[in-house]
């Protein structure tokens, strides 16, 4: 059963560009891919170890800067080198995670969140202060075409970049899934659920948290480097709180309790923000509202809802009728609020 899911996932990754061949769609798919890696790695912290860190964008962003600097040094290199740039990003992320994690994982729970928040602010402000390293407001741009084509691959076209991201996504997802099956992954779950008991059976919760933080930062670094390759730029806003919040929102909306949840969240989130932002200025409000609603009414996220729906064996009338009624009511409520919010936006725009 599980093997089938991975096969389907791989085939979907392969087939996606043929189903949506437009260049805009390809760029969206590439964004989804790198966001999926970020969301999955974030879920190693939030879902698996129970650490709500706001510092995730710092690891990804600093790795993006490392990737950009490396690419600019290797301007005359070969495309084969570019395929390894994400690994450089991963190492940068690991280093960043080792430093940040040392400070944040000394605490747990809410204190950890607050400290990571402060570190995000520190990193974002620090990056703006050092324009020589981080390019100030405009960021540092780069060129992903490193040299002459190798077997016809030079990463000049979006399709090739998409496949690069897809391959890394598949590998990272597989490794991260494998990690949940290892003893470390299991102990991380134990630390999340009951740190005292984990400590009693001889596992220092702080060390487990620190290890998971570093590993998660490694994958975040890969995701960050892929983002930099995709956009050919790394800027200070990649480090900031807004970016961290975005990853957090997407991951949680997708569902932190299931391995595939964050991937669904990344897909929905990127599509949501990219498509909706062309129609309305209020898309961030809708995203925020969606998040609050998920926290209040569906703590399992979209994945949780899907799993619950899939577990319904027989569609009886007694199940279907209240379900349909409730859905209709929710839709009506949502439509009404959207109408109200849009009217308000029109009014403030007119002022």
């Amino acid at each position: 059963m599980r093997k089938w899911i991975w096969l389907v996932f791989g085939l979907a990754l392969l087939a996606a560009p043929w189903v949506f061949p437009q260049s805009a769609a390809l760029s969206l798919l590439s964004q989804c891919g790198s966001m999926m890696i970020l969301a999955l790695s974030f879920n190693m912290l939030l879902g698996q170890t129970g650490m709500l860190s706001f510092g995730h964008a710092v690891c990804a962003g600093l790795a993006a800067f490392a990737a950009v600097h490396v690419m600019n040094r290797w301007a005359g290199g070969s495309p084969a080198a570019l395929a390894l740039v994400p690994l450089v990003g991963g190492c940068a992320g690991l280093l960043c995670g080792a430093v940040l994690g040392f400070i944040t994982t000394r605490k747990s729970g809410t204190a950890l969140s607050m400290i990571s928040l402060a570190l995000v602010e520190l990193a974002a402000a620090g990056a703006l202060m050092l324009p020589a390293w981080f390019g100030g407001e405009s960021g540092i741009s780069t060129d992903r075409v490193l040299g002459a084509p190798l077997f016809g691959i030079d990463f000049a076209s979006q399709l090739q970049v998409y496949y690069l991201i897809a391959v890394w996504l598949f590998v990272c997802a597989a490794v991260m899934y494998g990690l949940t099956r290892t003893p470390l992954g299991r102990i991380a779950n134990a630390v999340r659920d009951n740190p005292e008991r984990a400590a009693f059976i001889g596992h220092d919760p702080r060390r487990v948290r620190y290890l998971m933080f570093m590993l998660s930062a490694f994958f975040a670094g890969i995701g960050g480097a892929l983002t930099a390759i995709n956009f050919e730029i790394a800027s200070a806003e990649n480090l900031g709180l807004l970016r961290s919040a975005q990853i957090l929102l997407f991951t949680f909306i997708g569902g932190t309790g299931y391995f595939f949840g964050p991937m669904i969240g990344a897909l929905v989130g990127v599509l949501f923000s990219a498509l909706l932002s062309t129609y309305t200025r209020g898309w961030q409000l809708y995203l925020g509202l969606l998040f609050v609603i998920v926290v209040l009414f569906a703590p399992g996220g979209i994945a949780g809802v899907l799993v619950r729906l899939a577990s319904v064996r027989r569609l009886t009338l007694s199940f279907l009728l209240p379900f349909l009624l409730r859905s209709a009511g929710l839709l009506l409520l949502a439509g009404g609020s959207v109408f109200l919010i849009e009217m308000l936006y029109r009014r403030t725009a007119g002022l």
């Binding site: 939030l46 129970g50 709500l52 400070i103 000394r106 605490k107 747990s108 729970g109 809410t110 204190a111 969140s113 607050m114 400290i115 928040l117 402060a118 570190l119 995000v120 602010e121 520190l122 402000a125 620090g126 202060m129 050092l130 324009p131 020589a132 390293w133 709180l241 919040a245 957090l248 929102l249 949680f252 209020g282 961030q284 409000l285 995203l287 925020g288 509202l289 998040f291 609050v292 926290v295 209040l296 703590p299 919010i341 308000l344 936006y345 403030t348 002022l351």
Partner: protein, 314 residues
């Protein structure tokens, strides 16, 4: 002397505003165990409500009504949001308030637009309180300090000496017992949350016109108050007081000082090569570093004293 004194006063007034903010946060955290991420958003709402009321009724009614409105909102948030999330644990509560802060900023922009509001200092508070040599100290800053001190005294009296405070403290340590004695514990929780939010709103009323009222004001002060609370020690009101003064004074002095490491080295006769990799880092002046000093302080405190200055619980 003049510089030192005026900077100290400016630092103190900013510090007391920070304390007004972080006291509400600490109150809510130490009582309910909820880390209210939307606390700075309530501060922002306080400023915006005060602006809207002061346009119609004047500043003094706004000073009373805006915090009450914010407190009412806080009560609604606790009653219809937080109470339902509580059974999912601390992280869920944190996530809920985090999402709330996101929504509130958007709603404020929806209602009042993205640009800064002309929320001015009222006439009675506009002017110099006193002049020291050639520098004047504005009345509104003095008013801010007075207000914060009054709140500090009132809160500590209410919690330590009054019957209500006794009941609140009892409800936190032994909720079942207090419930059995016929008190409504969930309502006490709602009231405490509302009071904390009201304090944030009050800070917004005075902070909004002393600084600036714009949609970014919550983000600007939001992480600083978390630093204050962590540095002071989670849940300790005295720690929050010490930390807010410390951070504010540190920051105000740093803003006024234009020294850098490179300058210091040059003073000692060491001249650096501008091409060296660390040159930009040494070139930074203390004034440029001022915004990140609280965060650096936090890292330092975390490394040396993970419990915070006077923390009692993790």
């Amino acid at each position: 002397m003049e510089f030192t004194f005026i900077t100290l006063l400016n630092g103190l007034s900013y510090g007391l505003l920070l304390f007004l903010l972080s006291s509400g946060l600490t109150l809510i955290f130490s009582m309910l165990g909820v880390l209210n991420f939307a606390h700075a958003s309530f501060y922002m709402l306080g400023a915006y409500f005060a602006y809207a009321i002061s346009v119609k009724l004047g500043f003094w009614p706004a000073l009373l009504l805006a915090p009450l409105l914010v407190a009412l909102l806080g009560a609604l948030v606790e009653r219809f949001g937080l109470r339902h999330v509580r059974r999912h644990g601390q992280v869920a509560e944190l996530l809920f308030t985090f999402g709330l802060s996101y929504v509130i900023v958007e709603l404020v922009q929806l209602a009042w637009g993205k640009s800064a509001l002309p929320y001015a200092i009222p006439k009675q508070l506009d002017g110099p309180l006193f002049t020291f040599y050639s520098t004047t100290f504005p009345i509104c800053r003095g008013f801010m300090m007075l207000l914060a001190l009054l709140v500090l005294l009132a809160a500590s009296w209410l919690l330590k000496r009054s019957r209500t405070g006794l009941l609140i403290q009892a409800a936190l340590t032994h909720p079942q017992m207090v419930e059995a004695l016929g008190h409504n514990v969930p309502r006490i929780f709602t009231l405490v949350f509302a009071a904390g939010c009201g304090l944030a709103g009050l800070a917004g009323v005075v902070g909004g016109n002393a600084f600036v009222t714009e949609p970014g004001m919550a983000a600007g002060v939001g992480s600083i108050i978390f630093v204050v609370v962590v540095v002071g020690g989670l849940g300790s009101l005295r720690g929050a007081f010490l930390a807010s003064l410390l951070i504010a004074i540190l920051q105000t002095y740093a803003v006024a000082l234009d020294v850098s490491l490179a300058g210091g080295l040059a003073h000692w006769g060491v001249v650096l090569d501008p091409d060296a990799a660390v040159y930009p880092l040494l070139q930074l002046t203390l004034a440029q570093l001022a915004p990140v000093l609280p965060y650096l302080l936090l890292v330092l405190v975390m490394l040396l004293r993970p419990r915070g200055l006077s923390g009692v619980r993790d």
